[in-house]
């Protein structure tokens, strides 16, 4: 448990908490001491405060247990703290009303100005839309349109692990992986890559199982050719070069041709390939 004294981890957790509660509410919480004290006086208020403390402790335990942690786990806390922050807003407004300069200028409008300011900041952030992930729909639409003349569903082999591609494209979704090998049917020796699909097993419900594993480019090439579908697509992130290295090392022509490029802002580039039919 020595890791609990690691400052870096605490900073990460506090950063997440700060973000989830939202900076404007954090500012208001700084003014909410009186409200908190008033809250503690009533049994119901004590219940709310105990719940808040318990939520913080449980989130800390989950965070420090090393599980994948998402900011939304902290949102119930943000709601409970909003009630306390409301006391801070009230206090802040009354403090501003006490300032002489403000009092003479627009005493009656301080509440309105404060609320409008809060609403503007929060709504701006809440309605801000980033189209970074638009490529998911674009890829799917491309795959759908390319296969529209066929009665059989196209196959989309993806090196990018995102089930939204399967949902939007309505294609048969296969996963290409170089590291997350399935524990089912794992052959010896260890493969270099696997093409997997989800199936239901009696043991632990739906899981990824390999439809074929490959050590060499030749095996992978044969595997690709065996997939029975009129249209087979391969979708990769631009930086995923391992598959190309395999084919280059074996001096075997890559069985796919590039058909489209998609971008996620300036950070990521994705390429869609289509199987070369012989």
């Amino acid at each position: 448990m020595g890791f609990i004294i690691t400052i870096k981890l605490w900073l990460i957790f506090l950063g997440r908490l700060f973000e989830a509660v939202f900076p404007t509410n954090i500012v208001l919480l700084c003014f909410s001491w009186r409200g908190l004290k008033e809250c503690w006086k009533s049994p119901g208020g004590r219940f709310l405060i105990i719940l808040i403390v318990e939520m913080i402790i449980s989130r800390l335990i989950i965070f420090f247990s090393g599980l994948p942690y998402q900011g939304r786990y902290l949102y119930p806390l943000a709601i409970c703290l909003a009630i306390i922050a409301a006391c801070g807003l009230d206090r802040l407004i009354s403090l501003l009303k006490e300032i002489k300069a403000l009092k003479s200028a627009f005493a009656t409008k301080i509440t309105s100005v404060m609320i409008i300011l809060m609403v503007a900041i929060c709504i701006g952030k809440g309605l801000w839309y980033s189209s970074d992930k638009l490529w998911i729909k674009e890829v799917s639409s491309f795959v759908q349109k390319s296969a529209v003349s066929f009665s059989v569903r196209p196959v989309l082999i993806s090196g990018v692990d995102d089930l939204r591609l399967a949902y939007y494209s309505n294609a048969e979704y296969l996963r290409l992986t170089f590291k997350d090998f399935s524990r089912y049917l794992l052959p010896e020796p260890r493969p270099r890559c696997q093409i997997q699909k989800t199936v239901r097993t009696s043991e632990d419900a739906r899981t990824w199982v390999p439809i074929f594993s490959a050590i060499t480019a030749k095996e992978l090439d044969e595997g690709f050719k065996k997939i029975e579908a009129p249209k087979v697509f391969l979708f990769l992130e631009d930086k995923d070069k391992e598959i190309f290295d395999m084919f280059e090392e074996a001096k075997i022509p890559f069985p796919f041709k590039q058909v489209a490029i998609f971008r996620e802002g300036k950070k990521k580039t994705f390429v869609l390939y289509e199987r070369i039919e012989q």
């Binding site: 008033e38 219940f47 719940l51 939304r72 009630i83 807003l89 809060m118 998911i136 995102d162 739906r206």
Partner: protein, 268 residues
């Protein structure tokens, strides 16, 4: 009470306006961002499988999934509204209705004005706004959780029988996300604090008797809501239960993990 009379009540009018603002913002967000989250795909597939009568198939997609949100989506799919539309509608409506228990809590604990401010802060909170416009079970969970808190606060100040209501809503919240059970733990801690104060006031017997009855009612109503559903799902491969079976692994992970491992996972 007539509507015109209710509108004369300034606080009620303001609350109504905040609710309309919240609803408008959530609908706007849903129209702006038509994309879905990674988790939503599983929810949609589960709802469609369940609506077609294939409960086994639905459960196999995620064995730990609590049934309430998926069940509502499946109902929508079955009724012809569509799992997607139902999922969004449930999130938007729940995200908007959340303001009512928040307002009530603020009003009850401090003042009516604080209740209105709290409702406003929740209505415009950017991340709550976003989540309320997505196919995610969180929005429904927050509504049920905070309603349970509101009823618990009411019960804390009223009689023993009131503890049935938070038990029911905690059960429903747990059927949406397993963290819902936190309310029970918080209530037990709150009762213990009460017992501690009772020792000071030499009022122990009465408080202990009331505590025992209240906790029993809270837990019983929670069990009545959740356990039948767990039994119903017991025939399938579902691993969902009112108490998350992973709790022990959280603690194990908490006790055994090294800082580097957590940092590594954070980077990943």
């Amino acid at each position: 009470m007539k509507v015109s009379e209710m509108l004369k009540d300034r606080a009620f009018t303001w609350l109504l306006l905040i609710i309309v603002l919240a609803l408008g913002l959530r609908v706007a967000r849903a129209c702006i961002d038509t994309g879905i989250d990674k988790d939503s795909v599983i929810y949609l597939w589960m709802a469609k499988e369940a609506a077609s009568g294939n409960i086994e198939g639905a459960v196999s997609l995620n064995q730990r999934m609590p049934p309430l949100y998926i069940g509502l989506m499946a109902l929508g799919e079955y009724a012809g509204i569509g799992a997607f539309n139902t999922g969004i509608a449930v999130s938007i409506i729940a995200g908007t209705l959340l303001l009512i228990p928040v307002f009530w809590l603020g009003k009850k604990l401090i003042s009516e004005r604080i209740g209105l401010y709290a409702a406003l802060l929740v209505a415009i909170h950017p991340y709550l706004l976003r989540l309320s416009a997505e196919i995610m079970r969180d929005s429904l969970f927050y509504l049920l959780l905070i309603t349970a808190v509101a009823f618990a606060v009411k019960a804390a100040e009223k009689g023993v029988l009131w503890w049935i209501a938070p038990g029911i809503f905690t059960g429903l919240a747990t059927m949406t996300r397993t963290e819902g059970i936190e309310i029970i733990f918080a209530a037990i801690i709150w009762f213990l604090v009460g017992v501690y104060f009772a020792f000071k006031e030499r009022n122990v017997k009465f408080i202990i008797r009331r505590t025992f009855l209240s906790v029993s009612l809270l837990v019983c109503s929670f069990i009545v809501v959740t356990v039948p559903i767990q039994l119903l799902l017991g025939g399938s491969q579902s691993l969902w239960g009112p108490v998350d079976y992973r709790i022990s692994s959280f603690f194990r992970g908490f006790m055994n993990l090294k800082a580097e491992e957590v940092l590594q996972k954070e980077k990943h």
